[in-house]
């Protein structure tokens, strides 16, 4: 993956790469810190079909969405031999009753037999969170358990 870094004098920096599909995807970082997500046109790789401004929180959310599936895929790969066990990423909505409370409060393992093996927050992975780990809204929980257990866990996280 060749990420090109191009300075834009007077504006900021552009970092992009060419995806296998032929599209150029990247990010413009402005001087004052905000970002633009850029995606090139299909028939004209020099120009952009989208140049979307992102705030810092939005960039973090996008990084979460893009970062977590890789972790899940890795875990699924490793757990494939173990029948009946699945891995999922569960988002913690900002209005969830556990926003601001600890992992221990959820009692997920007791109630649903699901284990939280990692929490992804703004692109950073916190592995093996302890029971006193405090959740924040839009965290992504990487969970391992049975299919029913995971369905119950979704309910628990949403409704308390």
């Amino acid at each position: 993956m060749n990420v090109e870094v191009t300075p834009l004098p007077g504006i900021g920096t552009r970092q992009d790469f060419v995806a296998r599909s032929g599209r150029r995807i990247g990010v413009i970082t402005y001087r004052d810190g905000h970002f633009d997500l850029i995606v090139s046109k299909h028939d004209d790789p020099d120009s952009c079909v989208a140049s979307i401004p992102l705030t810092v929180e939005e960039s973090g959310a996008l990084a979460n969405l893009l970062g977590a599936p890789q972790l899940v895929a890795l875990l699924e790969e490793q757990n494939r031999e173990v029948a009946g066990v699945s891995t999922r990423q569960l988002p913690l909505a900002p209005n969830s009753p556990y926003d601001g409370r600890t992992l221990g409060d959820t009692a997920l393992r007791t109630r649903t037999a699901v284990s939280v093996v990692a929490v992804v927050r703004a692109g950073t992975v916190h592995p093996s969170p302890r029971p006193d780990f405090v959740f924040r809204g839009s965290d992504l929980l990487i969970t391992v358990g049975t299919a029913e257990g995971l369905a119950k866990a979704v309910d628990v996280l949403e409704n308390g």
């Binding site: 191009t6 300075p7 834009l8 004098p9 007077g10 504006i11 552009r14 992009d16 150029r24 990247g26 413009i28 001087r31 004052d32 633009d36 850029i38 090139s40 004209d44 790789p45 020099d46 120009s47 952009c48 989208a50 140049s51």
Partner: protein, 391 residues
């Protein structure tokens, strides 16, 4: 005290009027500069209502406007960006210079204004407006395009060329001989190189001198430093504007960002005064005789900028649509053409009609520029289709 009251009323009316014009400009989607010029034309010399009593203030305020315009331009760039831009685009920059300065010089000779007028007009038609170009690229979502760094590097080259050109122009306008002109070039080259070296190596010391955690102190220091440097530069015949530009380059990092934030409103205010004063001092009745020349220049220099952008983008391996977009982006002229014309007219060394020609030309180009950038894609595609399937 009667006079103060009238001055206050006049000044207030000017500012408020500029505000209304500016709002109109943003609504239509063009830069407010042409409307400020038109506003100035409508009043003042030969216009509807002569404004007296505020000349002292507006003249100095206009000067401060030019200083702030160039200070903020310099603050925008770091010295490293300048060097990168220069390295990447020097050939395209030279092509840009030759192709775009020539039409202005030729028209000046045709109108009988001699070498001084030709030098001034060459600068007027050469410099693209960085402000308008950057805004248009941002509005059209083209900042991520591959041809955009090409366009920006050419703008960097033009700004550096202006730093060389202004001292020469100032010297020539002051009536020095050819030898004097060469000395001016030599001095300005030395000064610019020294400042670039200082900015690259010791930039943080310069920033430390003006920086301050309290905004009030910071504002006073930066503004004071800019005016001091501009004044000294003017005394050394290096041109006040260039002094401010070089100071802006020397200040870097977070100091530059904070200074930009603090000074932008001041720059907008004083630069608006500068444009209005330029319009006020231009007699609108002197425009019609040169209007045909202005239109001819507008058409010719649009083509030359298109060629420049096409060539520069081609060198970087950009495809055809990108080349067309790069050329169209560079078409806009604006604030710096008026700065150059203003310098020439203030020195009194050129024909008064130069102000009229420059005004008409900038009015046309400040509107034509954004329009060209917007229509280039549909037009280019239509041309492609015509060429691909000859009827």
């Amino acid at each position: 005290m009667h006079n103060t009251a009238i001055s206050l009323i006049e000044l207030g009316a000017v500012f408020f009027g500029l505000g209304i014009l500016g709002r109109l400009a943003w609504k239509i989607g063009i830069s407010p500069i042409p409307l400020y010029l038109v506003g100035g034309l409508a009043f003042g010399a030969g216009g509807l209502v002569p404004l007296e009593g505020i000349e002292g203030f507006t003249e100095l305020a206009g000067e401060i406007g030019v200083v702030l315009l160039l200070l903020l331009l310099g603050l925008e760039y770091s010295a490293a960006e300048l060097v990168t831009g220069l390295r990447r685009s020097w050939l395209a920059g030279i092509v840009d210079l030759v192709l775009n300065a020539a039409p202005g010089a030729v028209v000046a000779f045709l109108l009988g204004w001699g070498p001084v007028g030709a030098l001034a007009m060459a600068g007027v038609t050469y410099i693209s407006s960085s402000g308008i170009v950057a805004k248009v690229l941002g509005d059209l979502g083209r900042l991520g395009n591959r041809e955009t760094p090409v366009v920006l590097s050419i703008l960097v080259f033009e700004d550096l060329a202006m730093a060389l050109y202004l001292p020469i122009l100032t010297a020539v306008l002051a009536g020095t001989t050819l030898l004097g002109g060469f000395t001016a070039v030599g001095i300005s080259l030395v000064v610019i190189t020294v400042v670039l070296v200082i900015a690259l190596r010791f930039g943080k010391y310069v920033s430390m001198v003006v920086d301050s955690p309290e905004p009030e102190v910071f504002l006073l220091r930066v503004l004071g430093a800019a005016l001091l440097v501009a004044g000294v530069a003017s005394q050394l015949q290096v041109s006040a504007a260039v002094g401010a530009f070089l100071l802006g380059i020397a200040i870097s990092g977070s100091t530059a960002e904070n200074a930009t934030k603090l000074l932008e409103p001041l720059r907008d205010l004083f630069a608006a005064i500068f444009f209005v004063v330029f319009g006020l001092n231009t007699d609108p009745r002197s425009i019609p005789p040169v209007l045909a020349y202005a239109v001819a220049l507008a058409v010719l220099t649009t083509v030359t900028k298109l060629v420049t952008g096409w060539y520069a983008a081609k060198r970087q391996g950009i495809a055809r649509m990108g080349r067309a977009r790069a050329g169209a982006a560079l078409v806009a002229r604006g604030e710096f053409s008026i700065v150059i014309a203003g310098l020439a007219v203030a020195a009194g060394a050129v024909d008064e009609q130069l102000a009229a020609l420059a005004t008409a030309y900038v009015l046309l180009m400040a509107i034509l520029g954004p329009v060209a950038a917007r229509v280039v894609e549909p037009v280019a595609r239509a041309v492609q289709r015509r060429v691909a399937s000859p009827a």
